[in-house]
Symmetry: C2
């Protein structure tokens, strides 16, 4: 099979080819260098879709909610893209399929594109790849893109916040709300959802969240938007339309306001940071290029130390890689 250049795939993607969309997401995920100019162009043309970051601790009912939201958006005629980030499965090296299986009913709908991505290793490349995937879906014409992440781990929480509207899902009971606070998940919410609100103990969680909000935990730039708490039952369908209404209201509140500009600037900074990490680390990853044997030797003889050797390695590599920028 011949390698289709990424710009050719991009043209096919714009013509509605979902195979090309999938290929480009895979290249973004793998960090293929050839795909970067195409992804850079994609970024410059993206920004039309509404990106919903949706997160919550495991068991909070995120995936079921995503399915319900997607079904409701489809009824309104919107095309929906879903990027689901699962915790890395060390044994399979791939994403756990649970979320995907729960979404089979949607998977046969040509107006829905679902992509599971694994959280990979320790290079922070997951955030960059997920946001590249969101842009690809945007340029491919999906109106709403749901970026679903597990609300555990700094990167997973941050990437859900790198969206237009962040929805944090809490389930009643089990002290989830306390765990979530500790994980730093609750504080990123533009909208709180209490799932499984058909359950008796849901009211307690609703009250707890509302009280937390009035206690002024959520101050700062968010004050221009009153964070709502929405009860949702994926079982009865209660609250799903209310939630969509709140999401639309948040979109409007951030469309052309200082609140929105500030948010987009923060997302851009996050994106910049994660991309810089990717570009830097790929030069220093085992196997990418052999290090200087002399550096490694002086280190293994303890004639040098890791900090001095690393500075030298960085200066050397960077001088070569970034000589044009540095000139």
């Amino acid at each position: 099979m011949t390698y289709v250049p990424s710009f050719a795939l991009l043209e096919q993607l714009r013509a509605g080819n979902t195979w090309a969309l999938g290929r480009l997401i895979s290249r973004a995920e793998a960090g293929v260098a050839e795909a970067r100019p195409a992804l850079a162009e994609v970024y410059r043309h993206a920004g039309s879709a509404h990106v919903i970051g949706l997160t919550g601790v495991p068991g909070s009912g995120k995936s079921t909610l995503v399915a319900k939201l997607t079904a409701a958006l489809r009824k309104r005629g919107e095309k929906v893209g879903i990027v689901a980030i699962d915790p890395s499965s060390p044994y399979s090296g791939g994403a756990i399929l649970g979320d995907r299986i729960r979404m089979t009913e949607l998977a046969n709908d040509s107006g829905v594109f679902i992509r599971s991505m694994a959280t990979r290793g320790a290079t922070g490349g997951m955030a960059r790849a997920a946001l590249d995937a969101v842009d690809l879906l945007d340029v491919a014409g999906y109106h709403t893109i749901i970026l679903e992440t597990v609300g555990v781990g700094q990167d997973e929480v941050e990437v859900a916040h790198a969206s237009d509207t962040t929805v944090v899902v809490s389930a009643p009971g089990l002290g989830d709300e306390i765990q979530a606070i500790k994980a730093g998940v609750l504080e990123i919410a533009d909208i709180h959802v209490v799932s499984k609100c058909d359950r008796d103990d849901a009211n307690r969680t609703l009250t707890d969240l509302k009280q937390m909000l009035t206690l002024g935990t959520m101050v700062g730039p968010k004050r221009a938007w009153a964070i709502p708490v929405v009860g949702v039952s994926s079982y009865t369908g209660e609250g799903v339309d209310d939630l969509l209404g709140r999401i639309a209201a948040h979109r409007q509140a951030t469309a052309d306001t200082e609140l929105g500009r500030e948010r987009r600037r923060r997302v851009a900074e996050f994106r910049l940071q994660k991309t810089a990490e990717t570009l830097l680390l790929e030069r220093f990853t085992t196997g990418a290029q052999p290090f200087s044997p002399a550096l490694a030797d002086s280190l293994s003889n303890r004639a040098s130390d890791p900090y001095a050797a690393a500075r030298e390695l960085i200066a050397r590599t960077i001088r070569k890689e970034y000589s044009n920028d540095l000139a």
Copy 2:
């Protein structure tokens, strides 16, 4: 409380002060810049201790084995340092205490120093910090240092391999051996241990591992050392002395041989890479320093793209940071 300079702590550490040892490990873990020159000096003076990397999938009985090995080494009069790396607990932000609790009997022994470290975030700083901690224990006069990691996740496996002798623990049953192969754990072993060998199904695991080894899965630089498979029962104590004998034999086989030099060069390369990652990423971590507002603005306006902006950010930052090295 006044801040004690790291070089002052280092002097106290050399005089046998374990409080100073703990403080310096904490500074290495936190990535305190002030501690770096001291840690660099520590590296240059380390290398006397024998470092045992010990890993295995969860439930393989690693921690119990570490306790048994430590007790046996103590009987021989050796001082033992233990660095245990637990999976990051997203809720507490700290290490899970299970391993530490299992070691309480050792914790009261002044010839044993135990330190649990969390695996932090996505910056790869864990490996660097753990190896700095090993050096500190080395310079503090501990004869054997056990670096225990969970054999799940690339970094955790690699750091166990950044040692003088790597011991991989497998438990009988449960298909662990297959899981471990997939995780890339088995291939790093200098010595295989089958734990819980008082159990009926242990023989099967012993045979499987031996067969795998004769099938030539383990070729390459390891050929100069025949990888043994040792059955150990922490319950009956069987095999612990045998294991210590094998570890001593491996130490001798690598002391002043090409096999050992090659290994130390590989460990040095790994160390160099992880330290370079730390030095690079800390410049680009949110909050460390504000990014150029102009860069973030052009990105949020989509007048630029993340790759172009990241290259500019890197070139700019690096030029400032590494101007002496680049001159």
